[in-house]
């Protein structure tokens, strides 16, 4: 007959904690006798070390129960509840809760030997320092120990925590996004080549992109990617762009390539694209002052960049939600990069330490999707034909 779930892991963690307590006792005793070889040193080491060992053993026992035995019991209970859930998202969240508790248990089991190992390493360092001219004192031992505990936990949790985070996104985000229309989520496929080849952003050497929302929105093919572009500058990472790229196929008959980038002044503009594309001079003096437009087809560029489009484009830049946008139009495909200065990472799932069905985290993800689609609305509304796309009805904003 098998025992309660997680029992062997909890027993292992208890043994590790008691072993660690014994090591701490011996280390303090040895250090005390070394500093004072008399009876005082022996007594101080025995009682001081004994007290420290009791604290370590007690903490270890509590941690073994809290982090190992209890999650195992909850996982077993949750596994039974999953099969009772009839709602699709509820069932997914139930399954994820099982994964989460298993992850938590694995992390804690892993931490049960990695933390003591790190603490032992720190203790060894501390002991080694006793043979130097400037031996570390008791405060240093505490600092070493604290850092070892944190380091051991991070070592144990990083890979497993990331795997859980990825699983959560893959399972939950497509469901949440589908609540907004014919849309879905996938790991990001950022349009890096387009951004670089057409001179929208050229000076980046690394990128971070996790999430992409794609599908049909307001009757138009849409793809939105959360993207961060960086470059290495004398051992420091400099952010070149941090925001959203949104690509939408407009219901138009445009041809050629048009590029809209912020004006960099006379000399800055001279280095840009001049060989490949012609500058397009537009009638709006405010827009002309703020942006440079290049294109392969003067008429197609103007067919898109109507006075109303330019006005809305500038309104988008000054609304406060985004930095100055840049745009690339290839035939009917409009790709825009909207800087979101100071924005946090979007679509972040709850930590494995929180329940999978955390209302707070799910609400935040839902709000993130709504905010991103609001940006898509602003981009679609730039073009009159896209704005008046027949058959458009406001998308449902409920999950």
């Amino acid at each position: 007959m098998s025992g309660p779930p997680g029992r062997s892991a909890a027993a292992g963690a208890l043994v590790a904690a008691f072993g660690l307590a014994f090591v701490v006792w011996m280390a303090v005793l040895w250090s005390s006798v070394r500093q004072d070889p008399g009876i005082g040193g022996w007594l101080g080491g025995l009682f001081g070390g004994g007290f420290a060992a009791l604290v370590v053993a007690g903490t270890g026992a509590w941690a073994a129960m809290y982090f190992v035995a209890r999650p195992a019991r909850r996982a077993a209970e949750q596994e039974l509840a999953v099969y009772a859930a009839d709602d699709d998202l509820g069932r997914i969240l139930g399954e994820l809760e099982v994964v989460r508790l298993r992850t938590e248990r694995q992390i804690n089991a892993s931490a049960a030997w990695r933390i003591p190992l790190c603490v032992l390493g720190a203790a060894a360092l501390w002991v080694a320092s006793q043979f130097t001219d400037d031996p570390a004192d008791g405060t240093d031992l505490l600092i070493f120990g604290g850092m070892a505990v944190i380091g051991g936990y991070v070592w144990a949790s990083m890979a497993l925590g990331d795997a859980y985070r990825k699983t959560f996104k893959e399972r939950v985000l497509p469901k949440l996004v589908a609540g907004f229309g014919a849309l879905s989520w996938r790991p990001a496929q950022p349009p890096l080549d387009e951004l670089r080849d057409h001179g929208l952003f050229t000076n980046f050497d690394d990128h971070e992109a996790e999430d992409e929302i794609y599908g049909e929105y307001r009757g138009l093919p849409l793809s939105i990617v959360e993207l961060k572009l960086t470059r290495q500058e004398s051992k420091k990472s400099v952010t070149v762009f941090n925001g959203l790229t949104a690509a939408v196929t407009l219901p138009r008959g445009l041809s050629g390539t048009t590029i809209v980038v912020p004006d960099r002044g006379f000399f800055g503009n001279m280095t840009r694209l001049r060989g490949r594309y012609q500058p397009v001079r537009l009638e709006d003096p405010v827009f002309e002052k703020a942006y440079e437009v290049y294109g392969s087809d003067q008429i197609s560029a103007r067919a898109l960049l109507t006075p109303a489009f330019m006005e809305r484009f500038m309104a988008l830049a000054t609304c406060g939600r985004f930095g100055a946008p840049v745009a690339l139009i290839q035939d009917n495909r409009l790709l825009m990069a909207l800087e979101t200065p100071g924005a946090r990472n979007l679509f972040e799932p709850p930590s494995y330490r929180k329940p999978a069905a955390s209302r707070e985290a799910l609400t935040q993800m839902h709000e993130d999707i709504a905010a991103v689609l609001k940006a898509a609305d602003a981009i679609i509304d730039l073009d009159q034909a896209a704005r008046l796309q027949p058959g458009f009805t406001a998308p449902g904003r409920t999950t």
């Binding site: 009638e283 003067q298 008429i299 103007r302 109507t306 006005e311 034909a385």
Partner: protein, 190 residues
Amino acid sequence: MSAWVWVVVAVAVAGLYVWYAAIVKRRNRVAEALSGIDVQLSQRHELIPNVLAIAKRYLAHEESLLADIARLRTTGQARLGSTDPKAIAEKFEAENQLTAGLGRLFAVAEGYPDLKSDDLMVRAQATYQEVETNVAAARRFYNSSVTDLRNACQIFPGQLVAGLAGVGPMPPFFEAPVEHRGPVNAADHL
């Protein structure tokens, strides 16, 4: 003559040449813009017979309007490709009349629910809107090119080199039809 005089003469000749090259480039840009307008106007002309054929089924008693549009199309079609400033101005005038005629036709169509909801008419109207957007874009490109050419020719020493660059009378602007020139605040449509 001293070396300085030669330097001044060389600089003046170089300056005149640069100006001459700028005028030639702008003249060619106007020609390019003009041909762009013709391409768009051709598309408009190609669309009109289809629109008339659909409208004829519902607007039998609007025969004179349909005939007017057909006549204006024929006039406009004949003027495509003209490069003489006077002929260009006449072409623009004819096209503006054609635009006004088509505007009247679509306004009349509003009063005929069957015609308005006819699938072919709906598609023809959408195509017409796209063509009109392109005509407007071509017009903006052309007017911008004409402005550049005029500036280059009318600012000293442009008057001296314009003749050499083969620029005679200035090409006319392509103004929008009178009914389209009312004040529009784009912010109202945002």
